[in-house]
Amino acid sequence: MASNPLASDGSSDLDLSGQVAHGIGERVIGALLFACGMVSILTTVGIIVILAEQAFEFFRQVPLPSFLFGTSWTALFKTPAYGVLPLVAGTLWITLIALLVALPLGLLSAMYLSEYASPRARNIIKPSLELLAGVPTIVYGFFAVTFIRPEILKPLFPKIGPFSALAAGIAVGIMIIPLVASLSEDALRSVPRSLREGGLAMGATRSEVSWQVVAPSALSGIVASFILAASRAIGETMIVALAAGSKAQLSGNPLEPMQTMTGFIVQVFSGDVVAGSTPYLSLFAVGLLLFLMTLGLNIFSQWVVSRFREVYE
């Protein structure tokens, strides 16, 4: 026993400060990891600085009010006008159409998956929807041009042209169905079982429990998923670049081509643009507006979740 390397000597004269052994190495690693975290802060700062700096240049050439309230956008024409409203209107039209497609389908699918589907059906449908979410947006754009417009919309609206807000909006809507379905389903499933059992025990039918007990309890998560879906639709680029056309116009007819903010940015870079010219600078003004709109919606959705979340134990 005495030769055992483990014999306790009970000594206390050990250096307990440990500074020599570990201090420096540990601190260097901690600092490196902190730096990794700060990259994301720098990214945000970078986005804001780049957009604001160039947009500021732009607003020295085009006054802010005529940018925000002007009704004509002809940035790449001989006689340019920089009123952003047509781009905003195009963006909102496409977002609205997309939400009309995605919110009902997404929420109903979520309700089915969470409350009705057998485990087997769930195991097939959920990965399929996730697959849909992983498809690159350019593929949806191609789908809008080669299938949605000619095969579905053309028979219904014979006058529809090659580019339209409607075709683009529907494609954007299909693209965001998985987002709505997945986030809403998470919210629905986090409602505790006991609430459902409470409802069923009172003699409620399954759909009554689903819509009058479960859905209201998950409302904050569902609403947040709707807001995020809107934000995603506003920022979507490739679908509208392919399917919505490049005619910036204030129009009340979704069968007509429209240009969105993102669509304009891509259109400019698909051609040649001189760095520093007014059209080039206008990109950043449009980008800044786009960034602020989506940021506002994202913060709003986080606020909805934190403000209205029901906490179950």
Binding site: P136, F142, F143, T237, F284
Partner: protein, 303 residues
């Protein structure tokens, strides 16, 4: 008084199993079930229609030399070899930049960060970055990498832009994997006198690694399919050479698809569809690797 109320309700209480309004409610419930199934069916149908229509368009154009030919003005000779190689260059460098930084940030937030306002700000910031439209990242890359650092329309500028774009996704996925490591494992390591980094590097990271890898492979697949930011930072539309260094010009698969699908001729529409099939196959392969990793790790470690 109350006795009276009680007795009256006892009299009127219905002790047979009378259906009352139930049949109507049950009917409504059944209709609702049908509506839900139909909605889910439409969503799944959309996926099937998407894949089917693209395969139909692509079928005549899926030939082996599609993968090995340069782009050409003649549709029957055109291929996407430079785009394929360019895509591999871009996602390779994107991964190289995004993974260490993303995992490092995730470790910092899960294991090191004190609970203070800066940490809270970091978390909110990452969540918001994940929601910034990809085309805005393009403008960031244009301002910082292409113009300010003077990298021009190079592979490096494109990959750095993409790295910033997928960074939030990498961080969020890695954090989830790290959080899934049971606290008892950390306690055990701390209990034998390990330093924070010893605990993290020897126990937390190896245990979380399959989950982290799964997450970052999915993030990479996002980079593979992105087009908009690369249009902004200058992926070229018509490239007939391969990049040989990270300062070279390049194009990528989605860019080539975009370019083809904008041409009016039907042949190029078919080529675009064929390009999409190649892109989807690559994505599917990446996803299969992620699923395989997840399954393998689930088998290996039991808690």
């Amino acid at each position: 008084m109350s006795a009276q109320v009680l007795s009256r309700s006892a009299e009127s209480r219905n002790e047979t199993l009378d259906a009352g309004n139930l049949p109507g409610r049950q009917r409504r419930s059944r209709v609702m079930t049908g509506v839900l199934i139909a909605a889910t069916g439409i969503a799944v149908l959309a996926l099937i229609a998407l894949l089917a229509s693209i395969f139909k368009d692509a079928l005549p154009w899926l030939r082996p030399d599609l993968l090995t030919n340069m782009p050409s003005r003649k549709a029957e000779k055109a291929g996407l070899y430079p785009a394929l190689i360019g895509s591999l260059w871009i996602i390779g460098f994107t991964a190289l930049f995004a993974f260490p930084v993303g995992i490092g940030a995730a470790i910092y937030l899960e294991e090191y960060a004190p609970r203070n306002r800066l940490t809270r700000l970091l978390e909110v910031n990452i969540a918001n970055l994940a929601g910034v439209p990809s085309v805005v990242y393009g403008l960031l890359g244009l301002g910082v990498f292409v113009t300010w650092l003077n990298l021009g329309r190079s592979v490096l500028a494109g990959a750095l832009t993409m790295a910033l774009l997928i960074l939030p996704v990498v961080i969020i996925a890695s954090r989830e994997a790290i959080r899934a490591v049971p606290p008892s494992l950390r306690e055990a390591a701390y209990g034998v006198g390990a330093t924070k980094w010893q605990v993290t590097s020897s126990h937390v990271l190896p245990t979380a690694m399959p989950g982290i890898l799964t997450g970052i492979i999915l993030a990479t697949s996002r980079a593979l399919g992105e087009t908009a930011p690369l249009i902004v930072v200058g992926a070229a539309a018509y490239v007939t050479f391969l990049p040989s260094g990270w300062l070279d010009k390049y194009t990528v698969l989605p860019m080539q698809i975009y370019e083809w699908s904008r041409r009016p001729q039907d042949e190029f529409q078919g080529l675009a569809a064929a390009g999409i099939v190649v892109l989807l196959a690559l994505l599917l392969a990446l996803n299969a690797v992620a699923i395989w990793l997840r399954a393998r790790s689930a088998r290996k470690v039991r808690w």
